[in-house]
């Protein structure tokens, strides 16, 4: 019973969370989500301690892994920003890099018009 409840809590929280990520709408205040995950995790652990059978232990274990694992990942994701080599009000650095065809593209080719340069993590 406890295990099912714990697993349901982490399942629903996880579902809501990933739906938010897909809509690029991750809320800045994640405390309610983390609290829900931890609650589910605690219920999972309690269920395993109770030892009400193998099904309960499996569900409780799953709830505990997700319930504690997600907050642990969350702690890892808060990263220290480096000091970028360019500064507000300062000149942009020029560079040359290959585009998707392999041809070289120089950032200086954009001089004379404004642009956004976005560093992102690709598709790995």
């Amino acid at each position: 019973m406890l295990a099912a409840l714990g697993l349901a809590i982490v399942g629903i929280t996880g579902f809501l969370w990933f739906r938010l990520i897909q809509n690029v709408a991750v809320p800045r205040n994640r405390a309610p989500y983390l609290a829900a995950f931890l609650t589910g995790g605690v219920l999972g652990v309690m269920a395993m301690i109770e030892g009400a059978g193998w099904a309960s232990n499996i569900m409780g274990g799953l709830a505990a892994v997700v319930g504690f694992g997600f907050p642990a990942l969350r702690l890892q994701s808060a990263q220290q920003p480096n000091e970028p080599a360019v500064q507000l009000g300062g000149p942009m650095l020029d560079f040359t890099a290959p585009d998707e065809t392999g041809a070289d593209f120089s950032l200086s080719s954009l001089t004379g018009k404004p642009y956004l340069l976005k560093f992102f993590r690709g598709h790995w």
């Binding site: 800045r28 480096n82 970028p84 500064q87 000149p91 642009y115």
Partner: protein, 97 residues
């Protein structure tokens, strides 16, 4: 507004992953993080298939027509990235008129 997006994808990966949303952007490859390091944007704590420190911190830089940096957005959390609302706000602030 020209958009240049650079990642550690190789040109082949860029071609494979390109979708209609990126149709107007210039997509650049930085698989060895040469440009990322030039801008000092490597995330040393990041674990990826390329090993430790193999990805950049997601960063958006707005440059005006004179080549001056007008806005730099680095999220303190890679899950947030540069949400469309924040980018639009920055365009209005960084490029008035």
């Amino acid at each position: 507004m020209a958009l240049v997006a650079i990642s550690t994808d190789s040109p082949e990966q860029i071609r494979a992953g390109k979708d209609k949303h990126a149709a107007n952007a210039t997509l650049l490859a930085d698989p060895d993080l040469v440009v990322t390091d030039q801008f000092n944007l490597r995330n040393p704590r990041n674990i990826s298939p390329k090993g430790l420190g193999g990805l950049p911190i997601p960063t958006t830089i707005l440059v005006d027509a004179e080549g001056i940096v007008r806005w730099i957005d680095q999220t303190d959390d890679y899950m947030l990235r540069s949400e469309p609302g924040r980018v639009r706000e920055a365009l209005e602030v960084g490029l008035p008129g």
